[in-house]
Symmetry: C2
Subunit: 327 residues, 2 copies
């Protein structure tokens, strides 16, 4: 590490004042083109880099984006968050931001983490993943007038809940899976999902239900719920198939459930998330465009941080169906 080179060094070498260097870097229009050039050359030559801490003291901006990292929950779909995180880091870097990690167990703990972080490293924004009904983190951030984007739409309509979000259209995913099964000739298509009330789960179920409905096929009675997991998926699928022996295909709300369903009988099965497991065992699954979702989060954040009020929007991305042997 060449020892610390400050703005003063650059100014001296370029024969200008410190302020001119700062302007050349931050307000390109203010400095004569020729001067700017010379300054930038010197910057390059000396390997000068602005010191974030100093800049932050002055501007109050850290160029840091904070996000929580969890232990892979059910294990199988842990890779989803992982891929999102990678995309976020990459997109953030392109926009001149870095990603700061924190952990927290539960909403209350996460809010405490917000306070901690804000007092210490002062991230410019937060990215909240896995939003849920009555998400207190969101109202807290809103109440405190902080900048953030959620990856996941606001499932409960908070009174003042106009915050920017990015999400993947789960219903579109299961709809694609259902259409695929219909095209393959299946007519009795069941659904294995999660207990109602989980936002994400309800959404996925809706995609299946509406697709069947618009195809003029009754779907009633073909639903079984389970907490996420392979064993529970198998049990649920077995129940469903016992009650409805004519069912030939199952759309599942997750790869875990699908894996279980697959073991429950000789039916076509689709999963959700396109996890490594799906790839390995040849499971047809709905793939979420996570890198794109992450990039969208950063794009939204950039506008928000630039003070663009029209950035209080949302983006709903469409997933794609990866067809493999299982269906």
């Amino acid at each position: 590490m060449a020892d610390k080179v400050t703005i003063a060094d650059v100014a001296r070498a370029a024969g200008v004042s410190r302020q001119t260097v700062s302007n050349a870097l931050n307000a390109p229009g203010v400095v004569r083109e020729e001067t700017r050039r010379r300054v930038l050359d010197v910057v390059e030559e000396l390997g000068y880099r602005v010191n974030q801490a100093a800049r932050q003291m002055r501007t109050g901006r850290s160029r840091l984006i904070a996000i929580r990292i969890d232990p892979d929950q059910d294990g199988v779909s842990g890779s989803v968050h992982d891929r999102f995180l990678h995309g976020l880091t990459e997109a953030a870097a392109k926009a001149g931001y870095r990603v700061l990690l924190y952990t927290a167990d539960g909403d209350a703990a996460e809010i405490a983490a917000f306070e901690d972080l804000l007092g210490a490293h002062e991230p410019d924004a937060f990215v909240l993943a896995s939003t849920h009904h009555g998400d207190r983190r969101i109202s807290w951030l809103l109440d405190n007038d902080l900048r953030f984007v959620t990856f996941g739409r606001p499932w409960s309509d908070l009174p003042n809940a106009r915050h920017p979000w990015v999400d993947v259209d789960g219903a579109a995913g299961t709809a694609a899976a259902t259409r695929h099964l219909l095209a393959a000739g299946h007519r009795r298509i069941g659904f294995v999902g999660w207990p109602p009330g989980s936002g994400v789960g309800d959404d996925r179920q809706a995609g299946w239900a509406t697709t069947l409905a618009s195809a003029g096929i009754a779907a009633a009675g073909l639903i079984r719920v389970a907490t996420d997991g392979v064993a529970t998926g198998e049990a649920a699928a077995r129940d469903l198939l016992t009650a409805n022996p004519d069912v030939t295909a199952l759309v599942c709300a997750s790869d875990s459930l699908a894996l279980g369903a697959r073991a429950a009988g000789p039916v076509a099965v689709t999963g959700f998330d396109d996890t490594p497991v799906a790839r390995v065992v040849g499971l047809t699954s709905v793939h979420q465009p996570l890198a794109e979702a992450a990039a969208s989060c950063v794009a939204l954040l950039e506008r928000i941080l630039a003070g663009d009020p029209s950035a209080r929007t949302h983006m709903l991305l469409t997933p794609s169906l990866i067809v493999r042997q299982s269906a």
Copy 2:
């Protein structure tokens, strides 16, 4: 967010000087117990938190630990890095540090990232995962006298390569797997691994070989290598079984290979990494204590950052075998 409360506010409220507040927080021994108490009470009451940027300008320490995040490589074992990252974030938080992420494609790019980071956010230390032969990142960090720990031992003996590292004993893992198979009555036990020269792979192979040797069983000719992956694992295992029809068990260098090997014939199989896939399909696999590894990295880093020269050590952790149906 209660608006920014500075050290001056605390000093005023506590009726002491700014410096005394700073001392109460940073040098507990220097301040009278009663004063310290009062100051801390006020700190609590006002919700004061030290501003990192300001502190960093003074002390030159950011309380940031940087680590690279990759897209899940082969997909299957992506969860390994994920779990490590979670453990690192948690352990770092306990030690008062935060984890900063960056991406880089290749050693050269990563070195450029080091320079960037060091100039801007100035992380106090780096954690390098997936070390490899002739790792130029390590020599660069060493040359620049920077603080870091590697998760993975130094595979090439650099001349000045006395840096702290944490690793999991891969050989012990495959040895445990091999012993398990021997105990189950297997006598002809093959190995499916990666091409030689990969450090990690060679280590895992050695565990299998030495265990068989010390059991007085010849292992020659029972090795097949493949680039990591399910398909390649299956092909390699098929070859091996064709050439050695008496083989009844296979120790594999990864869960991917093991998954493939399993499909190659009716043999007992063990994998490595205890990935979600292994759990789901019931594959016996070697489990790495990643949270512990991460905590060890942080512990080492803490000592290094405290200037403890004896911290230039290493820690080799022992993995455990998770026995499932496959073996």
